[in-house]
């Protein structure tokens, strides 16, 4: 929901003024917790990794318990499924086979069952409608298997409609097969794209703040008592946040330091949003990422919320696309020069004139409170 506040000003001929205000709410279209609670209504269970081939298959209400799902076919649909992945580092859902086309997930939940570094869904040519993703390393990873330079500007075929990505989590640092073997800090992206064109994000919420009481974050009270998850999320905005020592929990977690404080001491201004989170990471390792259509979405957290520094514009590269009516919070670890310059939209690659990203007018991208965005880095 977004609040709208109007101010009516009545002025008489003598310049005397009377004012009045009224407020209402505008639904954002982003799924609520109550709506998401109705997703993933399963009626059967599969406990082994499953690959769907052929064409036109429809799968209803399956709990893939401790199992991954892959696709090698076309026009395959999963409805009301829960997918938890196995113990490997592979994504819970893989659409990486080059034969896979038009893979659709409706009303599904992607959530890891066992600790590990793994993404929720990876590949191309997939459509998510009403999908919840949480407690994975990255959420959605758009990449093309077998990419070569001749395939630059490939069509991603990826659409996200009413998708919620949140509670990103990381378990290990420099372990073999690690997502980022070069260091031991958190690296989590709600959405990451290696290249390609035409990705659609519609009414998507990406919250790039860490999962609490899971993976690399375990908060304790002043007396050292481990908070429950509900208690941790219920802490006051400016409450002290103290984490347990690395390796102190049963099973050896957390394996990496929980976060790097940005000095603000507030959850709402990014105290825990670093060191290396992003809501959207836009890259060009598989040719330029272009032609996004991002509308009516909400982005929270991140060291930099949208990080496009790895995808600079250059002569001949197409538009970065159309970004309308999106909302950003101020909980970035990188606060920039102040509360209204919080590295929310940091495309950082000479995209001015090559992207539609209004900050004024009916289709403006704004902060969540409706304030005009400042410091957009094109």
């Amino acid at each position: 929901m977004v609040s709208i506040v109007v101010t009516a000003t009545v002025t008489d001929a003598g310049g005397h003024v009377g004012t009045a205000s009224a407020s209402a709410t505008i639904s954002t279209g982003i799924p609520t917790d109550a709506e998401m609670a109705t997703w993933g209504q399963t009626t059967s269970t599969i406990t082994s990794n499953t690959t769907y081939s052929g064409s036109g298959t429809v799968v209803n209400g399956v709990h893939f318990d401790g199992a991954r799902v892959s696709f090698t076919g076309t026009d395959i649909t999963l409805n009301d499924c829960i997918i938890t992945g196995d113990t490997s580092g592979s994504p819970l859902v893989s659409v990486t086979n080059t034969a896979a086309r038009r893979i659709t997930l409706n009303r599904c939940i992607l959530r890891t069952k066992t600790p590990g570094n793994r993404n929720a869904i990876q590949g191309q040519n997939f459509i998510l409608n009403d999908v919840l993703i949480e407690k994975t390393t990255d959420g959605v990873s758009v990449a093309k298997s077998g990419y070569t330079a001749s395939a630059a500007n490939w069509a991603t075929g990826v659409e996200l409609h009413r998708v919620v990505i949140r509670k990103l989590a990381r378990w290990t640092g420099a372990a073999p097969g690690d997502v980022h073997p070069t260091d031991q800090v958190t690296h989590n992206d709600g959405f990451v794209q290696a290249g390609g064109s035409g990705t659609i994000l519609d009414r998507v919420l990406i919250d790039a703040r860490p999962a609490l009481q899971y993976a690399h974050v375990a908060l304790v009270s002043a007396s050292g008592t481990l908070y429950t998850e509900a208690q941790a999320y219920g802490l006051a905005d400016n409450a002290p946040r103290t984490s347990v020592a690395v390796g102190s929990q049963p099973g050896g977690w957390p394996f990496v330091p929980a976060w790097t404080s940005n000095g603000t001491g507030k959850w709402s201004t990014g105290e825990m949003s670093g060191p290396d989170f992003s809501a959207m990471m836009i890259l060009s390792s598989q040719g330029p990422s272009t032609g996004f259509v991002v509308t009516d979405c909400e982005f929270r957290g991140g060291e930099n919320c949208i990080n496009g520094g790895g995808n600079p514009w250059s002569t001949g590269v197409a538009s970065l696309g159309t970004w309308l009516r999106n909302r950003f919070d101020r909980s970035q670890a990188n606060q920039g020069s102040g509360p209204d310059d919080t590295n929310t939209a940091r495309f950082s690659g000479n995209w001015a004139g090559h992207i539609t990203f209004p900050t004024l007018g009916t289709d403006a991208n704004t902060y969540v409170d409706g304030a005009t965005m400042t410091g957009v880095q094109f």
């Binding site: 709208i4 109007v6 008489d12 005397h16 209402a24 505008i26």
Partner: protein
């Protein structure tokens, strides 16, 4: 002169994206009330004639802005009420 008074109200508490929002602004200004002027003409014999006219002493204007910004379009208006609409 006194300051005008005003109140404002939406026609709904919650809107869907793209839905038409209607805002009613009710306003009053004691200085704006129409003033009726009666003219009495008396001749040398004491006979009288009268005439009346109404004048608006203090007309005003009504403006609306919002956060987040929307384009508010004025609709029907009277001396005591003004309607504005915008797209949610």
């Amino acid at each position: 002169m006194a300051n005008p008074t005003a109140s404002a109200a939406f026609n709904k508490s919650t809107y869907a994206p793209g839905e038409l929002m209607t805002l009613t602004v009710t306003h009053a200004d004691i200085d704006r009330a129409p003033l009726t002027v009666t003219i009495v003409v008396t001749d040398t014999t004491g006979g009288t004639g009268t005439a009346t006219t109404t004048v608006q002493i203090d007309p005003g204007s009504v403006a609306v802005s919002s956060v987040p910004a929307r384009t508010w379009t004025p609709g029907a208006a009277t001396s005591s009420q003004s309607i504005f609409t915008a797209t949610a």
